[in-house]
């Protein structure tokens, strides 16, 4: 029983009630499963419930502020009571992602009726309905019937909920609900038809942005600080431009472009705005079309890992770190997290010495054999990023010495060996089976909101990997293959295991 994450809550409220007020400071923080926001395990406390109460009140106030667009009927023509009931039935079904049960309808209407009987306005009555709907467990939790004994196929509404939450980070729309009620989602073909429609819809951009910013751990950008003496141009607007670039880029490649995983690592066109032009060393044009990607220098940029967001998020406050950049490549992209530092080790980079390059500085800690065992895996990957400073600007010399971006990949299944620079590294990663497998696990975990279970999910995982390969590693097809999998369509009986 997963609880909606903040993005799903906000998107649902926007799609169903037309309210797009910022809830980021109202809703409590999400739990994370791996890098992904998913409220899987820990129960709510008083603070969460208080926050849900405040959020519901805020949303309701905004919703009834535009009553005409909110209501599916004209209260004057149909009568206020009848219109309130229609609103409750229709909106309730969207928010609960299933039709209201009779007991619910009766109880909620009672709330409306007693307010009206007490002389309060129609709009107050509607507001109360919105507030109770948004605090009900049927809205806050994704509830799926618990099968007994054997795995069970999810009901139409249940799988529709999973589908919309995966591909839109929102609730099902009316068309998806109709398909669910019409029994079309119990077949793989019916489900795929809807999956293709959803991914092709602009709402899909939210999920693409959410996945990539969390997967690459660039969602930390808004909270990130940089040394103002070294990087005076780094402010909230630039940080947002960086994040938006990558979110937009990934969405464009996957949903509008060729969809291939290779392109994510090799495509040099991207979406540049504002002060980001300076970072990329390009003159800012008079007019920027936000829908058309700008060609970046192919000798400097190649896909996600050479974008300013990634390079900035994985640098320190005042200097770059081959360790940080190397670890993310290993952990997020190769799914090969290095082991934790041994106990009692001082987990800090060597202090800078004037006149020394970053590589020389970090080479020093690899002379210590306790550090070397792991750092010989991470640092040589990180060295490949030597051409990019703390904001991802391209540099050719560091403190007067020419940049040495030679690196080496070690310990992988299929792409070991020396390389030179992040462009060659990206190309190497873009064709790696280990990276392809890792991409499958990451998306799978994101789609289900839980970690994969090595035994229970083995068959599903195998099928998805095969489908990804057959599509020549097209991410769109990967998403559809996940939707088709048993892990997505069935629910296992619960016995202390994963849903």
């Amino acid at each position: 029983m997963r609880r909606l994450n903040a993005l799903q809550y906000a998107n649902t409220v926007k799609d169903v009630l037309g309210v797009s007020v910022s809830l980021s400071s109202v809703l409590a923080e999400d739990e994370k499963v791996g890098p992904f926001n998913s409220n899987l395990l820990s129960p709510v406390g008083e603070l969460h419930v208080d926050r849900y109460m405040s959020a519901a009140e805020l949303v309701a106030a905004n919703a009834v502020g535009q009553l005409k667009t909110l209501l599916p009927c004209d209260p004057v023509a149909t009568g206020e009571a009848a219109c309130a009931e229609t609103f409750l039935t229709q909106t309730g079904a969207r928010l609960f992602r299933r039709p209201l049960e009779d007991q619910e309808r009766t109880a909620y209407l009672g709330l409306y009726t007693s307010a009206r009987t007490a002389g309060r306005s129609f709009s107050d009555g509607i507001s109360l309905l919105v507030r109770v709907l948004l605090q009900s467990p049927a809205f806050l939790y994704q509830i799926e019937a618990a099968p007994i004994g054997a795995p069970a196929l999810l009901s139409g509404n249940e799988v529709a909920t999973r589908l919309a939450s995966f591909l839109w980070s929102s609730a099902p729309d009316a068309a998806l609900q109709n398909a669910a009620m019409g029994g079309q989602l119990t077949t793989v073909d019916g489900l795929l038809t809807q999956a293709r429609r959803l991914l092709g819809d602009p709402h899909g951009a939210s999920t693409l942005a959410s996945f990539h910013s969390q997967w690459l751990k660039i969602d930390r950008l808004p909270a990130l600080q940089k040394d103002p003496a070294l990087t005076p141009t780094f402010d909230a607007a630039l940080s947002q431009a960086m994040l938006s670039e990558t979110e937009h880029f990934a969405d464009w490649v996957v949903r509008s472009g060729d969809g291939s995983m290779k392109s994510l690592f090799t495509q040099s066109n991207s979406f540049v705005d504002g002060a980001l032009f300076d970072v990329y060393g390009m003159p800012k044009p008079a007019k920027v079309d936000p829908l058309i990607p700008v060609p970046l220098k192919q000798s400097e940029r190649s896909g996600l890992l050479t974008q300013a967001s990634f390079l900035t998020a994985h640098s320190h406050f005042g200097n770059t770190s081959p360790v940080l950049r190397g670890v993310v490549v290993l952990d997020s992209i190769l799914c090969q997290a290095p082991p934790p530092p041994p106990p009692n080790v001082m987990a800090v980079p060597p202090a800078p010495i004037a006149g020394e390059t970053t590589r020389e500085r970090f080479d020093r800690h690899r002379t210590d054999p306790t550090c070397a065992s792991c750092h010989s895996l991470m640092d040589p990957i990180g060295y490949g990023f030597a051409h990019y400073d703390t904001l991802g600007r391209y540099i050719t010399d560091e403190g007067g010495k020419p940049v040495d971006a030679s690196g080496e990949i070690k310990g992988t299944q299929d792409i070991d060996g020396p390389f030179n620079g992040a462009i060659e590294l990206s190309q190497r990663l873009s064709g790696s089976h280990q990276v392809q497998d890792c991409m499958v696990s990451q998306w799978f975990s994101f789609a289900l909101g839980r970690n994969l279970d090595k035994t229970r999910d083995a068959c599903s995982l195998q099928g998805v990997k095969a489908a990804f390969a057959a599509s020549d590693y097209n991410v769109r097809e990967l998403l559809f293959a996940i939707v088709k999998s048993d892990a997505f369509r069935y629910r296992a009986p619960l016995e202390g295991g994963a849903p």
Partner: protein
């Protein structure tokens, strides 16, 4: 028994009385109202205070004897309150113990030293090694497997509008074990409130205030929560066993809020609301600390809660830059692993700043007269960190400072040295001190029994 004591319904008259004070300065201390008498032999309130990344022992450790000691640099801001301090040296956190016969303890630890000791500190338990919910480097782990001591004690004295209050000063970074130290039950972390405006709203609006609009809001909230409770109750039999704990916790939370909404808990004049600002920003930290301390002291002094915690910063790899103390590009965590003179001096300044925050909290509590003394005399603050020595994550000689008082039940003004004693003994002492006399062990990693010796 005293544990059942409830606020008498004195507050209507009181509210009227206090209405005249409503225009006083922002968050000025309020006149104390209720429970002015101290419970005989039992302390009234408990606050757990946390800051990350240990201390520098050389500049923290007092010198001298049990009753005649001198505070070192770090604790100097507490000099004015020396007779209200009880400093404990020689206690050890042992989330990593492999001693004892419980095979579940062997093979730990998970989660890295900062994270596992954060959930261990107040609960004496370790992170769930069998869960794959979180991963760090190549290890996986789940939530902590214990109940924190404040929550255990809240079962006895959490009879106020808020059973307990979790307050944070920039505790952000996701709902994950490295940000959570308070556990209502195993696997049930409680999130701290890090936004002063939101904390103010929780404390002082909704359930309070006499305006017709406020009363309407209160009634609406109650009606809605009633319906939501009914929904949850109908849901419970339909969900899987492991989900029913979630339904129960949700119901518990609603019940607590309903109690609060029903109580005539308007014990203080409502202070002016703090502004809404970015409470997560690095440089907001001193301002957030100031506001949260004042709000927390008000909540205690006004009888809104008897049990609270105050969490400074997040617990793993603090990225905080103490720009208001010195110029430095390395954040707290990075500094904390260094041992050169410059780093040590800056770290001492950081820890001294935290001691100042404790002094500020004590000052605020002391402003509420209570019985013959003040709320401070009846509030025991227990301050510690997740590691002792940040350079190597060592957890022996953890820097425990107890401050305030336990209503006379605990002799303050002392400096006690222990010889490598498990801190679970202190947790037992705290339980005993707050009336849970039968508690002999506390937490999953406890390999001993009984309270701290020479403590009471």
């Amino acid at each position: 028994m005293s544990a059942q004591r409830r606020s008498p319904a004195v507050s209507v008259a009181r509210r009227k009385l206090l209405a005249g004070l409503a225009g006083s300065a922002v968050l000025a201390p309020f006149v104390p109202l209720l429970q002015a008498e101290t419970l005989p032999g039992a302390p009234k309130r408990l606050i757990l205070m946390f800051h990350p990344h240990g201390v520098i022992r050389d500049t923290w450790l007092p010198t001298g004897t049990v009753t005649n000691f001198t505070l070192s640099k770090t604790l100097e801001p507490l000099n004015a309150f020396k007779d209200k301090l009880l400093i404990l040296d020689g206690l050890r956190l042992s989330a990593e113990t492999t001693a004892g016969s419980d095979p579940a303890l062997v093979g730990e630890p998970s989660g890295g030293p900062h994270t596992r000791n954060t959930s261990h500190l107040w609960s004496g338990a370790a992170l769930d090694p069998n869960s794959s919910l979180f991963s760090r480097d190549a290890t996986t782990f789940g939530w902590g497997l214990g109940t924190s001591i404040d929550q255990t004690i809240a079962q006895r004295i959490g009879t106020t509008a808020f059973r307990s209050l979790e307050v944070g000063v920039r505790p952000g970074g996701g709902n994950a074990p490295h940000n959570r130290m308070i556990y209502r039950a195993p696997g049930q972390p409680l999130s701290p409130e890090g936004n002063p405006k939101a904390l103010f709203d929780r404390l002082f609006t909704g359930g309070m205030g006499g305006s017709a609009l406020a009363e309407q809001l209160r009634q609406d909230r109650k009606s809605i929560l009633d319906l939501v409770s009914a929904d949850l109750q109908r849901l419970e039999p339909r969900v899987a066993r492991e989900d029913s704990a979630k339904v129960q916790a949700h119901l518990d939370a609603i019940r607590a809020i309903e109690t609060r909404l029903s109580s005539s808990a308007a014990l203080c004049a409502t202070p002016t609301a703090p502004a809404d600002f970015d409470a997560n920003a690095n440089d907001s930290m001193p301002m957030v600390a100031d506001l949260q301390i004042k709000l927390l002291a008000s909540a205690i002094g006004c009888g809104l809660t008897n049990v609270a915690s105050l969490q400074f910063d997040r617990n793993e790899n603090s990225g905080t830059l103490f720009n208001w103390l010195f110029t430095e590009t390395r954040a707290h965590h990075e500094l904390s692993h260094l041992s050169d003179a410059d780093a040590l001096s800056k770290l001492t300044q950081i820890y001294t700043w935290y001691a100042k925050q404790l002094a500020a909290l004590m000052t605020q509590l002391a402003a509420f007269p209570e019985g013959g003394g003040s709320a401070l005399d009846n509030t025991l603050i227990v301050w510690c960190s997740e590691v002792a020595n940040p350079q190597n994550h060592q957890t022996t000689n953890s820097p425990f400072v107890l401050a305030g008082g336990a209503g006379g039940a605990l002799k303050m003004g002392r400096f006690l040295s222990y010889d490598n004693v498990q801190h679970n003994r202190l947790l037992v002492s705290l339980a005993n001190l707050f009336g849970l006399d039968t508690v002999k062990t506390y937490g999953k990693t406890d390999v001993g029994s009984g309270p701290l010796t020479s403590f009471i």
